[in-house]
């Protein structure tokens, strides 16, 4: 069996084995889930050994024709852009399962769904056929809908429904684009490479329309203003471990898809470049300012995600190597940072049952570990030098400057706003009187510390030694940027 199929099936096997265990053995179920996601993590990271960083070719490629008449095929493969995403997905899945200790009701269903979700996410990043991509894309919705709807907060039903409706609404446009593309290829094949070759021959206007379809589909997920309506509610209402996956991996699916769509329709994105940049900068400021207004910590992080994904969009819109590097790096950086913040806030919420920032003060005196890791996470969210966010934002800034000049100063403004709310939050953690409710709560436990330290080490490592990850991405991004460079 091929490497990627094994990777895809590992969580599924975990889910199947959980399904076979009677529901009352919930400890076994949790262990099984941990085991499956840990196996997937090890397996995906072991791919690094055989991954060739010098070539932009798809690696570990496998393809089997699925339906000859429709031209669909089961083809998987990864390159320098999808590999970091795959690694992130397996890592954050494990961390989210680690952080799920507090989920007490219907554990069986919960872990089953999380593992299915992991598999679907991996499928999105590995699919090399648009039909398969679409299948996995939609497949993520089903576990997520139930996870939010069943284990979420107070307004979980609205949130879940809202989330699915938004994503489906966007997907419809994406599906139309895919179908039109399919229709225009004489071979009638859904394979990404075939479609790419044909799509580039289409008339310019058609390309733009097709790209807009993709943009709506992926823009909902990313999210891009004004398609982010589902996000605050879903992030707040989802159980915290799921919030980690939502913001850490699910959002990246949108930007990842956008990069793939851009490769398929390069002329379209070149003519829409300025629109994308405008949207990106607006998202950046919009998300930042709204995050600054929130007193609900989870909502604040949710909006800061909008702001951070603006950086990704800006990086993509530059269409040059530096900017694209910044975009992919920001996807990784935000994965770490958002996961860390959601993890910590989730764990705090578990103990205090409040997410209002006004209820937290002098956390450092009672819970120094919490305060330390939260501070680190917020510092990383600002993109301080020495954290992954800095490297990413710096690349995006330089890429943007090459393309638009001084206008990208707005990016710095966005960073400034993010500093405003992050520093305020840190300030809250360190000053003020000690509240008696907070005095009761226990500090981070060992497994929780492990999860938090892995994430902290992750963004610090990339911040100090960005070379390894840049090395993984460079060949693919080089080829990608060449696609645009010859068309300017």
């Amino acid at each position: 069996m091929h490497d990627l199929t094994i990777l895809l099936l590992l969580p599924v096997m975990g889910a199947v084995s959980i399904a076979l265990v009677p529901a009352q053995h919930d400890k076994i179920i949790r262990k099984l889930a941990l085991l499956a996601s840990f196996a997937a993590l090890l397996y995906s990271w072991s791919l690094l050994y055989s991954f060739d960083t010098t070539t932009a070719q798809l690696q570990f490629y496998e393809t089997t024709v699925w339906n000859t008449r429709l031209g669909t095929s089961y083809s998987l493969g990864i390159d320098g852009i999808s590999l970091p995403m795959v690694l992130m997905a397996t890592l954050l899945s494990l961390i989210s399962i680690l952080a799920s200790a507090s989920i007490k009701n219907h554990r069986k269903g919960y872990y089953l769904l999380v593992l299915l979700l992991e598999s679907a996410m991996l499928g999105v990043f590995m699919a090399q056929d648009w039909s398969l991509f679409y299948v996995f894309w939609e497949l993520t919705l089903i576990p997520l809908f139930f996870l939010i709807d069943h284990w979420g907060g107070e307004k979980r039903h609205t949130a879940a429904l809202n989330f699915v409706l938004y994503t489906m609404g966007g997907s419809v446009f994406m599906l139309i684009s895919i179908l039109v593309l399919f229709d225009s290829t004489p071979e009638h094949s859904f394979a990404m490479s075939d479609m790419m070759a044909r799509a580039r021959e289409l008339p310019h206007n058609t390309q733009v329309l097709l790209f807009l379809g993709f943009l709506i589909g992926f823009g909902v997920k990313m999210p891009i203003f004004p398609l982010h309506g589902w996000l605050p509610l879903a992030h707040v209402e989802a159980p915290s471990p799921i919030s980690i996956l939502l913001s850490g991996v699910l959002l990246k699916m949108g930007s990842y898809g956008l990069i793939r769509a851009a490769t398929t329709l390069p002329e379209a994105i070149i003519s829409l470049q300025n629109l994308l940049a405008t949207l990106a900068m607006f998202s950046l400021i919009y998300g930042g300012l709204l995050a600054w207004r929130q007193s609900d910590l989870k909502k604040m992080i949710a909006y800061s995600s909008v702001s951070h994904m603006g950086v990704v969009l800006l990086g993509i819109a530059t269409l040059n190597i530096v900017g694209l590097t910044g975009a992919v790096l920001q996807m990784v950086a935000h994965g770490f940072v958002a996961a860390a913040t959601f993890l910590l806030i989730g764990l705090l919420y578990e103990r205090t049952h409040t997410r209002d920032i006004n209820h937290y003060c002098s956390l450092v005196r009672v819970n120094p570990r919490f305060a330390f890791f939260t501070t680190m996470a917020f510092i990383a969210a600002v993109g301080m030098p020495g954290t992954a966010g800095f490297v990413a934002e710096f690349h995006a800034l330089i890429g943007g400057y090459e393309r638009w000049g001084w206008i990208v100063v707005i990016l710095s403004l966005g960073v400034l706003i993010s500093a405003a709310y992050a520093i305020r939050t840190i300030g809250r953690l360190f000053t003020g009187p000690v509240q008696c409710q907070i005095q009761q709560i226990t500090d981070l436990r060992k497994t929780e510390m492990l999860a938090a330290s892995v994430l902290t080490a992750g963004f610090l490592f990339i911040g100090f030694f960005p070379a390894p990850i840049l090395n993984i991405m460079s060949a693919s991004l080089n080829e990608l940027s060449n696609v645009f460079a010859v068309r300017f």
Partner: protein, 511 residues
């Protein structure tokens, strides 16, 4: 024997290493308290003896053959088109000075081991003492202006630390500050001097500055020499920088005092003698040396006459002699000045170390006013007031700067803060209620903050009313609504008459 010369860098480094070792010991808690005194003393004595032995070896070499002179060891800093070398000047004068400093340091350390016994800050004192002797050695042996300056600064810092040794006393800290800041004025000119020589000569090696400066006009030479001179004036407490040296006596008696009595106070004169070639080229500065020397001598002489304690008397008499040295330099007798310097240093070291013992051995009534002042009561007042030098400095420099900083602060608070919007005066939340009610979420300060707040509230409204509402309620309502229509159409279509119409229309379209 010659190979020892290449290890000359060890001479100033050894005492500094001793400092680091004592500091490490203090941090890691292996030499604290009384039990650590022996170890601290041993470290300091070893370092001082080793560097003295090294110097003596080089001395012997110089005695047998000739002084090694200029020595370039290796590049220290390379950037762009300039290189700064680790270099040493080992001519006769430098060697003599180094021997002198090393000997006096060693003796002082030996003396202090007993003197400081069971005093608070024993380890700290030795740290500074070692640092100081390393710095002094660096000053006299460095081959270029940068390394001299490093020593110069270290000496300044350690004198600051020595004066403020008992930092719990208000006068000690105030005097330490005053002495340090006065020294900083000189440091600024030192930097100017080597910056100028760097710009004009492209090098800061003493050798190049002093001997290969043919390309410069006498004005340029004068500027370089003048800047070095001001640095020297500040360090040696010459006129008009004299008052700081009396404040230096705050340090622990007498170990720190011997530095102001015998070593550091001569650093400035050393610098003047070192840059002698510059004064020879640009003779216009020599009368200035004479004048300053004379003024300092007079200042020291009159002030010392009215002092009532032994240390102050001694320190002002030191000032007198240092002034005389500068005076002699001004006459062009640099050789004589260097002899004077060395002899004076030895004598003062002995005198300062002995002074407290003498005080213990004999008691004497307050000495009478010197007969000289009998007819010059105003001179007496002036001497008592130390010629108002401190007050003049306060009035000329300190006050205007204080006022300027007050204005700057006002501007900062009333204008800049309001525009930029720093968080309002750091409010301390004292009670829990206050904490809950005084939420500052989404509140900005200053113009930028208010703009941000205003913009954020508009966007917030937009978000709440259009984006979220669309998601939460209206979007779903709309779908329900549309669903209703579709259902109605569907029901209509299922009725035979409409189905018929549909079929007919289809046929019409097709045909």
């Amino acid at each position: 024997m010659y190979s020892v010369i290449y290890n000359v860098w060890l001479i100033p480094l050894l005492p500094i290493l001793a400092t680091s070792w004592i500091a490490l010991g203090y941090i890691f808690n292996f030499n604290r308290g009384e039990s650590g005194e022996a170890q601290t003393a041993k470290t300091s004595l070893t370092a001082a003896s080793l560097s003295l032995i090294l110097i003596l070896i080089i001395d012997a070499y110089a005695f047998l053959y000739s002084a090694p002179g200029q020595l370039k060891l290796s590049p220290w800093l390379i950037s762009g088109d300039y290189t700064i070398y680790i270099s040493f000047t080992l001519d006769n004068f430098a060697l003599a000075m180094a021997t002198l400093i090393s000997t006096i340091s060693l003796l002082t350390i030996k003396f202090s081991v007993n003197y400081m016994h069971r005093e608070a800050g024993f380890q700290r004192f030795f740290m500074i003492l070692n640092l100081f002797s390393g710095a002094m050695l660096l000053i006299v042996m460095a081959g270029n202006a940068v390394f001299t300056f490093i020593g110069w600064e270290l000496a300044g810092v350690s004198s600051f630390l020595l004066i403020g040794h008992s930092f719990d006393r208000d006068t000690a800290t105030r005097n330490a500050n005053r002495a340090f800041i006065t020294n900083r004025i000189g440091d600024a000119f030192f930097i100017i001097a080597f910056a100028l020589s760097f710009i004009w000569l492209g090098s800061i090696e003493w050798n190049d500055i002093l001997n290969h400066n043919a390309g410069l006009s006498s004005l340029q030479i004068g500027l370089i020499a003048g800047s070095f001179l001001i640095a020297a004036l500040a360090k040696s407490a010459l006129f008009p920088f004299s008052p700081w040296i009396a404040r230096a006596l705050e340090g622990p008696t007498p170990s720190s005092a011997i530095f102001y009595g015998s070593l550091m106070v001569h650093a400035g004169i050393y610098l003047v003698i070192r840059i002698e070639p510059l004064f020879v080229i640009d003779t216009a500065l020599l009368p200035l040396l004479v004048l300053i020397g004379l003024l300092t001598t007079l200042y020291g002489f009159f002030t010392s006459l009215v002092q009532t304690d032994v240390k102050s008397t001694l320190i002002f008499s030191v000032t007198t002699h240092v002034g005389l040295m500068l005076f002699i330099c001004g006459l062009g007798l640099f050789e004589l000045a260097s002899w004077y310097l060395i002899l004076h240093a030895i004598w003062r070291a002995y005198q300062f170390l002995n002074a407290p013992a003498h005080m213990h051995m004999m008691s004497r009534p307050t000495r009478k006013v010197h007969p000289l002042f009998k007819n010059f009561t105003r001179l007496y007042t002036a001497s008592i007031q130390r010629f108002w030098l401190d007050h003049i400095a306060d009035w000329l420099l300190v006050k205007p700067i204080e006022e300027l900083s007050r204005d700057a602060r006002n501007f900062d608070e009333k204008v800049v803060n309001r525009i930029v919007g720093l968080p309002a005066q750091a409010t301390t939340i004292t009670s829990l209620d206050e904490n809950e009610t005084s939420s500052d979420i989404g509140k900005g300060h200053g113009m930028a903050g208010k703009t941000m707040e205003w913009l954020a509230s508009i966007l917030g409204w937009f978000e709440d009313h259009l984006v979220l509402q669309g998601g939460e309620g209206r979007f779903i309502k709309l779908i329900h609504h549309l669903g209703g229509y579709v259902l109605q159409i569907d029901q209509l279509l299922s009725q035979p008459r409409y189905l018929l119409i549909l079929i007919i229309t289809t046929f019409v379209v097709i045909l």
